[in-house]
Amino acid sequence: MDILQMLVVILIVILLVKPLGTYLYHVFSNESNKTDKWFGWLERVIYKLAGFKERRHMSWKKYVVSLILMNAVLVAIGFLLFLFQGSLILNPSKIKDMEPTLAFNTIVSFMTNTNLQHYSGETGLSYFSQMAVIIMMMFTSAATGLAVAIAFIRGITSKGETIGNFFEDFTKAITRILLPLSIIMTIVLVGLKVPQTLGPTIHAATLEGNIQNITIGPVAALESIKHLGTNGGGFFGANSSHPFENPSPITNVLEIMMMWCIPASLTYTFGKFAKNQKQGWVIFSSMLILFVGFLALVYYSESQGNPALNAMGLNHYQGSMEGKEVRFGIAQSSLFTTVTTAATTGSVNNMHDTLTPLGCLVPLALMMLNLVFGGDGVGLVNMLMYAILAVFLCGLLVGRTPEFLGKKIEPKEMKLITIALLAHPFIILLPTAIAFLTELGKGAISNPGFHGISQVLYEYTSSAANNGSGFEGLGDNTSFWNISTGIVMFLGRYISMIALLGVAGSLLKKQWVPENMGTFRTDNGLFIGILVGVVLIIGALTFLPVLALGPIAEYLSIR
């Protein structure tokens, strides 16, 4: 039954890939199509208001500069709103101004699509901050990610000078994808009993006679974009395990779908741009293989229960339910954990800190790889980077200099790719090591020993992968953690984006090499194997030692 539940969800996503992927293609192909009729008027109004008359196509450098400037402006506005939220409008619950390092962490967190939360939504943010900063950022950061993916795809699949216009892609991502989908999903969620109101916290008298404060607010609106945009920041501190955010197994499945569908469908969009659908399916299949493998591991590990408790003779028939919601059970929790870290969303419906050791290896590993579907846009781009790397490593075996999609991979591309490749382990391992060298870092650990290593590692991995889920259990609202994770999130987002758009810009100018019998093919089953192998080997080689000291050692010691 458990397995069937998971299979059904996977199957629905597979079925969604083609229609949604095709839709995404039409949105960004810049050829006139039906969607123009529905959304064109809205965009024209926006363009007019913005004084955005000519939508000239940009070189990759201009695209990057536009992206950075756009993000910088949003960060500046959001930061100020947080600092002064106490005296701004829509603050019925009288929330205070935010502390500066926390505001820095929070704004970076949301702009980078990470949604790491060192605050608790109920007590840390006013409704105005929730809507004008948090929800707004959830749209813009996801739109930024989508724009990067589309620009990258254009770069590697076409020849010319331009990878599109950032502002146009950015606007369309919101008007044609995120906004309509999140409106629909908000209504659906409201129908499924998720609150949506601007009313203040409810003070309810309980049967014991005490007063209980029940926080409500515009939850459904946040919930839909939180998942569609692979953001993950919860309205409440307890995120999607809170009954108002995720009241039932049905909303749970819907939320899983929402965060999974866009990253998965982008592979199809890529195939359409590449004019070779097989190419898209190869990327999708590689992601799915890795996904299923990790899902199987976390599900198996959780359903076996906690060995320490089992040894005491406790019934482990239900599996390890510590930190999980009874309404979801092991299967729905495992699936949610896998999807939220694969698609680097970071919402949680169970406490990752209390996953069994091998269970917690799964979210860690998925975030370390950061390409099994991945966040909106960036996951695909990361996987394509690995595809280029796989081509580079194995392409030579057919006696030709490596080429991907008919374009030669040369020193310039390799330099840029290695920057992106190097950045990820760097911003995970280096701060983790620093944290263990300082009292500021070590002091936050609530559970010393191997598990403590997992706690720290998880925090930085989640930040670097722009996932944002918390292992929790780590006392992380201190200047040390706010600033260090803020920097990690920032670097994790922009270094690889810039470097990989550089790769796209460089490949864009290259002449296609026609395909023939001597070409290394990247659209067949063998390449799926190679790609999965390269991802696992490079990933495993980089992170195995720390994983061995964290979850693996923990697993072995309680086994």
């Binding site: 490596p402 020193p411 490749l421 391992l429 090591a433 290593i453 080689l541 061995a548 072995l556 010691s557």
Partner: protein, 676 residues
Amino acid sequence: MSQTTSILSKGIIKDAIKESFIKLNPIYMMKNPVMFVVEMGTIIVLLMMCMPNYFHAEGAFGYNLAVFVILLFTILFANFAEALAEGRGKAQADSLKKTKQETMAKVIQKDERIKSVSSSDLRKGDIVLVETGDLIPGDGEIIEGLASIDESAITGESAPVIKEAGGDFSSVTGGTRVISDWIKVKIQTDPGESFLDKMIALVEGAKRQKTPNEIALNILLITLTMIFLLVVVTVYPIAQYVGVKLTIATLVALLVCLIPTTIGALLSAIGIAGMDRVTRFNVLAMSGKAVEAAGDINTIILDKTGTITFGNRMASEFVPVGKSDMKEVAQVAGLGSIKDETPEGKSVIQLMKKLDIPQIPLDLEKSEVVEFKAETRMSGINLPSGEKIRKGAVDAIKKWVVEQGGTIPADLEEKSNQIASKGGTPLAVAKDNQLFGLIYLKDTVKPGMRQRFDELRKMGIKTIMCTGDNPMTAKTIAEEAGVDDFIAESKPEDKIRVIKEEQKQGKLVAMTGDGTNDAPALAQADVGLAMNSGTIAAKEAGNMVDLDSDPTKIIEVVSIGKQLLMTRGALTTFSIANDIAKYFAIIPAMFTIAIPKMEVLNIMGLQSPTSAILSALIFNAIIIPLLIPLAMKGVKYIPMKASKLLSRNLFIYGVGGIIVPFIGIKIIDLIIGLMS
């Protein structure tokens, strides 16, 4: 050049061992960042041995010494591989240098007087006289005279070649010797820039520049090294948190095992050896880039004459006209060819033998041979009996027969057209006033060409034949040889046009050429193989020179290019795949003392943490010399579809690369166990 030194001659090995130590110089090692990191690690371990107190490494002298020795050998092996590859080139360069002796040149001055000047003082534009027995003092063009020249010093070919002023065979190379007659040569290079100088520099590897692919691969290797450096540096404080104390020697060992030392050590040797294979093949590549490009070639443009066909037309059939029969035609043609030394003439006699037609006896002494002349376009013989026999162009013979008072058989026109339409050349044969028939001359495709083109097609390479023939003839030969495409009635500028068209589609094009008018096309092509017999212009335009002047070699050059790339890919794949086993050896070894449960990961069942680390390290070192032969000889290349080739190589070097170290490390561990 053809004095092929065997792969491992004693002298080369001795020199290479010496070089391996000289190359330990860190300034030199910096060129190879992967091995430089190993060297730094070695130095750290050495310091720990010398000053154990400073590093808190007391009591670990034996272990540190073992690590130090293995690391030192790892570097020496890497240096040895490179030195060995270079050594072979140096040996060749030395033999070339002997050729490059100082000679006295006879410079012809403006007043026609001859002045003796040292060859090193010659400048571009000087005119020198070279007589029998003299060494040609420098590269140049013959402006007067004809001589046979011994070029064995450069080409290894002992048969002398004839060179003469004018045309495409007028260039001479310094260091070769005139063995008969004399020539006047206009020197075309300044000292130090001659062909011989370039050759020496090339085989010595002095000018070796890294190729784009090698650079890209190096970038990746450096990145992997940096990642692993990061892994090793960060694991120390993290491990300390859970009470695992790691020694610096162990961390250095882990680092060295993980960074791609195997490919890092062999990368430059692969490049040098690849160039060397080309050189051994008597082709001089001006850069490694050209060899690499050869592996990527999509299209090869070949001249028909001399490359695909023998170039000389051979008699393949006797065609009677009018009332004569085949035997008569053959016998008359036979009489007419008996003193004809041209390939066409000889082929007539051969064809008669093949068809068993006896030659009519003839008193050669009293006969008068009529040589072929461009004006008459026929040759023949006047017999003692007064009979005149002629063979030649159909028009010319027709005119001659009419002049002799004969008539032209009605079917001549039709039959000669038939031959022409099949791509052959008809020669008419007549005796006095009677026209007997035609000799069907045909250009013959070299044996084995069809198979070669099939192989190329399997590699995904398209062949285009260029010929001055009419489209009919061209088509016949193209079909017979099995080329993919042809250009008939091609002019030199056609080649350039075709190359540019192909390149516009992103294809890489290779071509061969020897004439001055080939030079622009040779320069335009991605791989331009010039014939050594060709003009200086052609040799300068191309990026490879074939010393044997065999244009079909372009096909082998492509294979060598592919082999070079494959070898690089194979060893990279192997090197990275090796890391999996090394992890399974080292990770449990590092942590087991503090976390006994880690023993489960010791799937190889290695005896002790120390033995496990040393075994992995020893495997890491000795795999380098074990792979030197592969790096030098290159991976075996059989032309086949890319997908098949990939599965095959991936299986051997990828899967093999995962399995081999598991076995190797286990064996070394067992040996260590026996020794201790």
